[in-house]
Symmetry: C2
Subunit: 137 residues, 2 copies
DNA sequence: TATTGACTTAGAGCGCGCTCTAACGAGTAA
DNA sequence: TTACTCGTTAGAGCGCGCTCTAAGTCAATA
């Protein structure tokens, strides 16, 4: 008893595939970021393919700075079916706008960094200094 | 007594210009992200132009996800003069690499978002729903 | 003189997003 | 039976980056 179906995954397997810790996976479920995961006959979570897909989306949103509370709101909208489609679209559009701002910041910072890196490089060439691993020379 | 010079700024003025709170400005100084700010004769901080420039760099690094502890390391290297130029360049290069990864994540997430937004839009067109502000029609 | 307001410090508190602990249960191997 | 592994829950704890509080100084104003 307690067997997983072939198309199901244990929490450990999901952890390994996603990089999220088992703690985090349970935490996400607990706070309503995920629907209650179906259970195997022994009470263990049995993740399905669509759970993995949902987790992938969550990770993308998190990695790009969406807050947990906003992700909760999106998950809530999902639960409430087709009537929330416009709201979901609007929420995604708002995140998109934030990402565009972020992209600009990132672009500018990259320019600044490259300028400074070049500057440091010119200093290094003008005034070479013994490095720790060149003492033998 | 206690007059600011023309080219100096109070902590409030720096706060207004940068968007950082006065709490945060003092906090950054306290933890060594900034050199001790010069004081006016009344003991109040008198920020100079180069302080603002440094703050601007700090804000860029923070906004692009550099950790405080890494910024502290960079500030420490600055304090130790020209011998640390290579290390500073390497640190900036490492941050640059992280930003390139982040940029890719951002790009991909933008693509995913746009796909979902388009999908939602198609659903909205196929099955239009009364919106809250269109009850009059 | 008394009050107001902007500043100072040291240090406590807080919200976020995990991360871990304790206590327990079911299944398997020796 | 004993021990081990892998899972479960509720709830405590933690690191980060601020954010705020308390208590005090000082200068200007009513």
């Amino acid at each position: 008893m307690g067997q997983m179906m072939d198309n199901e995954l244990t929490i450990q397997q999901v952890s390994a595939r996603t990089g999220l810790s088992v703690h985090t996976l349970r935490y996400y479920e607990r706070i309503g970021l995920m629907e209650p995961i179906c259970r195997a006959s022994n009470g263990h979570r049995a993740y399905k393919e669509y759970d993995l897909e949902w987790i992938t989306l969550l990770m993308r949103l998190r990695a790009t700075g969406m807050r947990i509370s906003d992700m909760q709101r999106f998950a809530d909208l999902m639960r409430h079916g087709d009537l929330t489609i416009s709201q979901r679209r609007e929420q995604l559009e708002e995140h998109e706008r934030k990402l565009l701002v972020e992209r600009d910041e990132l672009r500018q910072t990259l320019l600044v960094l490259r300028g400074k890196i070049e500057y440091y490089r010119s200093l290094e060439e003008a005034q070479p200094v013994l490095k720790p691993d060149s003492q033998h020379g």
